[in-house]
Symmetry: C2
Subunit: 244 residues, 2 copies
Amino acid sequence: MTHTAPTIILINPQMGENIGAAARAMLNCGLTELRLVNPRDGWPSEQANAMSSGALAKMPPVKVYETTKEAIADCHYTYATTARPRDMVKPVFTPQGATEDAHSRINQGEKVAFLFGGERAGLSNDDVALAQSVITIPLNPDFSSLNLGQAVLLTTYEWSKTQDNTALRDLPTGKSAIATMAELTNLYKRLETALEENHFFRVEEMRPTIVRNIQNMLSRADMTSQEISTFHGIITALTGKKTP
Amino acid sequence: MTHTAPTIILINPQMGENIGAAARAMLNCGLTELRLVNPRDGWPSEQANAMSSGALAKMPPVKVYETTKEAIADCHYTYATTARPRDMVKPVFTPQGATEDAHSRINQGEKVAFLFGGERAGLSNDDVALAQSVITIPLNPDFSSLNLGQAVLLTTYEWSKTQDNTALRDLPTGKSAIATMAELTNLYKRLETALEENHFFRVEEMRPTIVRNIQNMLSRADMTSQEISTFHGIITALTGKKTP
């Protein structure tokens, strides 16, 4: 069996709403295996279903365990989400570091799980000790409390980034395409000619600098072929002269 | 005036709870300037205060505007959080791409803002057109709906990462320190001697390989000096012989 995404394990969760929010965050980020250890209000939960916005219905059935040990038994590597532990020599990852590590492990066939504690008390020391590593989310030290759904969201979102190759910046150009340098230089020439004819360059010796500055301004716009045409249309309209 | 973090602008937000959740996410991630455009249920909001878990009380007063144009007037660059626009040639960033871009802009003194639409309708085309760029959060295409507080959290968390240099992985070693190679090789030698005396190496020609494998196993543990001592103690206990 191959494992394609981490398992999320909520240990001693209290409110069904938070379990539902966690499930919603998971499915938003492409994760579908949720386990619960000893949920206070039992399982299934109407509140969880409502808060999951349909996520729980689209995921495999949630498995419920009595102990953390049983819930992680088939996993190869587990990460406990908690504050930086003071007295355990255990790797501490950021969510990004942990999900990149998990990505490597899953690629070699390991089953990995992220453990989250209950709303009030978080994970017990025993649960943290069971895990091979810790995830600590670096937040504003003066205001760091995050609810369970938000903690799951940040972690699973980082996971989704390891699976995603969306460009950090993209310029969708629709039916047109980015203009070629030939189209751009042709526009520069046309504009320069029109400006010359309209006596824009009052001091001839400044002209090269001004032309370069205008080119720099326009080149930052990443114009499409369509926009180059529009710009030619603007020049035509303002000068009353068609493209030469 | 220098700007140290992006401004968050919620346009036509509906429920106070979601404004409060956004404020909480902001302060978690070190952002404190929140603006509202035309909040449906007015402002201030008891629901927002309750949901913010104290964040609103720790932030400068929220400013309320009637139009998006007024709310962004003093900003130099704005990012509209929305689905990928179909018919606008406008840069599309991921949250990470946008916050890295914002970090660069803030470093050169620009004031930047992230715009978020209301719960039901999102941002209008006019609001998206006003912004210089778009942030689209890449999520599971089959389950991508994110609530307002979650969208603000993912974006502001990415911002906080641009401000943070926490190591992706760290091994806090408490009062001890990572063992030196001398301590490690000394332990290897002691263990090898103990194993030899106890007839662990049955086939002499395999011994070099077995010794290397044991060293590889132990070297992956990143032991501290304290743990090296503990390991010596284990060997002493199991063999009944003190350190030579």
